[in-house]
Amino acid sequence: MFSRTYKLIVTLPPLVWVTAFLLVPYFLMFCYSFWSVTPSQTILHSWNLDNYKELVVKTTYWQTLLRSMWIAARVTIFSLMLGYPLAYFLSFYAGPRKDLLYQLVIIPLWVSYLVRAYAWKTILGSEGVLNTLLQYVHLTRHPLDFLLYSPFAVVLTLTHIYTPFAVLPIYAALEHIPRNLVEASHDLGATPTQTFWKVIFPLSIPGVVAGATFAFVLSLGDFLAPLLLGGPSGIMISNIVVSLFGAAYNWPLGAAISLGMLIIVVSLLFVSERLEKKWSFS
């Protein structure tokens, strides 16, 4: 029913815009990663693999990447551990309060990322709320200094930020489970525990995969929480990229690392899409 002109008019402008401001920049990032920088800090447009060689040879980059993945993995696990029971409760037990509780999950998402990271900084610091509280009730005598400026602080903050991201897709998946399946399982004599593990959980896996992907990918690329709360031991891979684009001034090497991150992210999205398809029942 829609004419060719109509299709052309709705397709062409977004296509051109997205090409100019997403596709071309990614391609530029790809190009940069093969260029090099001279000691006098000009960028040489000569094609070589030096940046990639450096990434392979120097262990700092690998170690930081692995540490970032380990931090992201912990954030993912904790977000799922906090988020799944919450989504389950919302979907099966909340009754008439469902809408209200759903909004309560969403509201923290609307509180700015920066504000939440900052709030944790004021809680965890050596003069912070938690330490002064512990001393006030005489549980500790001296401030616990491992709370702030540590990977722990980064994992805690990112878990706080990404738990709602994990809840939403899991909740959506749970809501899509036909209730008569649950009833059938119960009528056929399964205990609630069996019903959960044999019916509900398998059917919610697509939501779990989506939530886990969100939490892992977004925390893997984070650089603000580590800068604010991580200290030297909490440095993540994006922090190295930031310094390469800033004071260290080596855009080509920074571009190579960014491209590596982009490839990791896109492959994860590909895998998670496959997993979601495999586990979805409809």
């Binding site: 029913m1 109509y6 299709k7 709705v10 397709t11 402008p13 977004p14 296509l15 815009w17 997205v18 401001f21 596709l23 920049p25 530029l28 990032m29 906090l82 988020g83 029971p85 919450l86 389950y88 409760f89 099966f92 037990y93 909004q103 923290p108 609307w110 509180v111 700015s112 920066l114 504000v115 709030a119 900084k121 004021t122 809680i123 003069e127 709320v129 509280l133 006030y136 706080h160 738990t163 009833e183 119960h186 609630p192 525990t193 969100f214 977004l218 893997l220 690329g221 650089f223 603000l224 604010l228 994006s238 930031v242 855009w251 920074g254 960014s258 991150m261 982009l262 992210v265 999205l269």
Partner: protein
Amino acid sequence: MEFLVSPSSSSGIVPSSRWLLFYVAAVFSFLYLPIAVLIVYSFNGEGVGGFPPRHLTLDWYRLLFTDGAIWDSFLNSLQVAFAAMAISLIFGIPAALALDRAKFPGKALFRRLVLLPLILPGIITGLSLLMLFNMTGVRLSLMTIVLGHGTALISVATTEVFAGLQKLDRAQEEASLDLGANYWQTFWRITVPNLKLPIIGAALLIFTLSMDEIAVSFFLIGRDNTLPLEIWGRLRRGITPEINAVSTIIFVFSLATIVLWYRLNARAEGMAEIAAEMMNDDKSV
């Protein structure tokens, strides 16, 4: 569903649902504790730490209102958010229509590309655009941040509007076209009014996301700061409850937006229910 919570069903379920309730309450406190602390300490005369809070005061709010740099950055953020909203909607709505209605080579790739910034860490979007502006000699300013936010948030407009289109009954558009209206008239008189809620929802979401955005802005910033970057700069220098005060105000604004959106949505759902009931009545008659 009811049988899962009723005590008569199975002896094992009641304690476990009680534990679940306890666990859920704990998760909610984890989610809200930092926000509560933030708000409480915005009224604390003694600074951001220290338990218990002492000397409740409004001084930090007073300080905030006379703080020129904060106000300037707030106005900058407001401009950026409105401009980004315009770009995202102008390109995001047609993109949703294209995905819903057109067939063209590379459509799957196009869809993935549009949606990618939604899940991509902001640093990659920010840096790739920085390289583009650097290569083309564009000087960094609020304009480059607008382009960054606008482009990244097309994904939000497209997902919301596309979801709306999936539910849309095409018969109305067909009728409009059959009765002699052209595509332009049909778009403004039929398609847009039917997509009012997804579009408003997308606009509100884009607006708040842009107001809060920091990872992309971090790389595209020129001389003028946005509000999150102004706050970021101060955090690096040392912290005062003034930051709690501005954060509290941002929180209240976001909350007001979400309540507004929820009410619009609830009203629409109410209308949909009424419509559905009327249709049922027709059938029974």
